[in-house]
């Protein structure tokens, strides 16, 4: 016998309205409540922010504790892998160090010259106020690339602060709680950063893709960006100071992409920087 329309309605009604044994709430009530939370969140309802901050504080700490076994396994695997490739990496790093040492002298000279010229031109110099933070949660969700750090408003962390790893930009603070903060990584789909590509001083916007590389937006097609060009922050919009290294240009599927210098899977400690203009 074919199920009638009435059977369908009865089954739906029973599923959503009926409270089962030992159930305190019906599905429809909880669904309504969830939609209410979403609605209040969208319009930045103040009380919900307090709830969110309280939840964040509890959940971030609990999540850190719950993640310990998994992190232990992952770290052990990475350590074992590092040991396995130790000799090969040693040779590679030795050669790289030799090259870098020779370049360093040139760079020292250029820094001194740059500072002198900036003073002559009366350009704004930046003072940085840096703090080291430990990464509490580093969950690579396929949908959102962010990390949680163990510094919050208690440590004068503010929204928009730059987050660096080994002097490379990795993201910015987007949410601040009392003892923790969330950092949106540059690789996140919602991350947009004003950049400058050298050589050529090409201005563009770096856009995360949710993957390990990023794309470049808002450049003219006829601009020639060569592979291996370096991407820096441009300082436009006073989001970050100019000249923080981000990554290197490479080509994939006939499109220019950016390979980040920082390895987002290896973030254990990061530097949170607040750049202030020297005149301030």
């Amino acid at each position: 016998m074919e199920p009638s329309r009435d059977d369908f309605i009865i089954a739906i009604r029973s599923a959503f309205l009926k409270k089962g044994t030992q159930q305190r709430f019906s599905l429809i009530f909880l669904l309504f409540f969830s939609f209410l939370l979403l609605f209040l969140g969208k319009y930045n309802f103040n009380q919900l922010n307090y709830l969110r901050i309280a939840l964040n504080e509890i959940v971030y700490r609990s999540s850190f504790i719950v993640s310990i076994p998994e992190n232990l396994v992952i770290n052990s695997y990475k350590k074992a892998k590092d040991h396995y490739f130790l000799y090969r990496d040693y040779d590679f790093i030795k050669e790289k160090l030799n090259n870098l040492e020779s370049e360093k002298y040139n760079i020292d000279f250029l820094i001194a010259e740059n500072k002198r010229l900036r003073n002559t031109l009366e350009e704004v110099n930046y003072l940085s106020d840096e703090q080291i933070a430990k990464v509490l949660i580093d969950k690579e969700s396929p949908f959102l690339r962010s990390i949680i750090i163990n510094k919050g408003s208690k440590n004068n962390i503010q929204k928009g602060m730059a987050v660096l790893h080994n002097n490379y930009l990795v993201g910015k603070v987007i949410e601040v709680n009392f003892t923790t903060s969330r950092v949106l990584l540059l690789s996140d789909l919602n991350s947009k950063t004003p950049i400058s590509i050298e050589p050529g001083d090409i201005q563009a916007i770096l856009s995360g893709t949710g993957k390990k590389e990023a794309t470049i937006q808002y450049t003219k097609d006829n601009l020639s960006i060569s592979n291996g060009s370096i991407v820096y922050t441009s300082g436009t919009g006073d989001l970050y100071k100019a000249g923080i290294p981000i990554g290197k240009i490479f080509e994939k599927d006939n499109k220019k992409k950016v390979d980040f210098f920082a390895d987002f899977d290896q973030l254990r400690f990061v530097k949170v920087s607040n750049y202030k203009k020297e005149s301030d």
Binding site: P3, L30, S34, V59
Partner: protein, 169 residues
């Protein structure tokens, strides 16, 4: 003393689905180590237990698990709870209309459920809350969640038979 310890252990075993749900949302367990291979373990857990034995989870706890998941992955508060509760709704509907449950039938209805729920969540996130979500990752996540349901359903069934002495399908 031994009996008391045994009772505590048995009570914990009975609570295993709920404990597993909370661990998986706090840890955002999705086995996301290989490119595109990620699956939504809470979806599998919630669907299975809502279908077979809702007393093991409870809608209130599922709602709270959704809130925790939102906080961990940084989504607007409430969106995961909606997803989880919709899965409960679909599972409850299937439970109401099924006389003789079959794993394959449950499995394909699960695919329909997660497709609807993920599409709904994608639309809400991108058009109402303006959060960009990678559509391709979501597609693969849905596909692998569907595949892994078959494996986990078998494991859950063995657990259910052992702990609750129940016979399902």
């Amino acid at each position: 003393m031994v009996t008391k310890k045994k009772n505590i252990f048995f009570s914990l075993l009975k609570l295993a689905p709920l404990i597993l749900l909370y661990i998986s949302v706090l840890n955002s367990f999705d086995f996301n180590y290989v490119k595109y291979l990620s699956f939504n373990f809470p979806f599998i857990l919630i669907y299975y237990w809502s279908l077979k034995r809702i007393e093991s989870l409870g809608y209130g706890y599922i709602f709270i698990a959704g809130l925790i998941n939102d906080v961990v992955i940084g989504f607007p508060i409430g969106i995961t709870s909606v997803n989880y509760l919709l899965i409960c709704g679909f599972a409850a509907y299937l439970r109401n209309i099924t006389l003789r449950p079959k794993l394959v039938q449950d499995w394909f209805f699960f695919f329909f459920t997660i497709t609807v729920v993920n599409s709904f969540s994608y639309i809400i996130l991108s058009s109402l809350l303006f959060v960009e979500v990678d559509y391709v990752s979501l597609f693969f996540n849905t596909f692998f969640t569907f595949i892994f349901y078959f494996i986990f359903a078998h494991l859950f069934r063995i657990y259910q038979k052992t702990i609750f002495q129940e016979q399902n399908d």
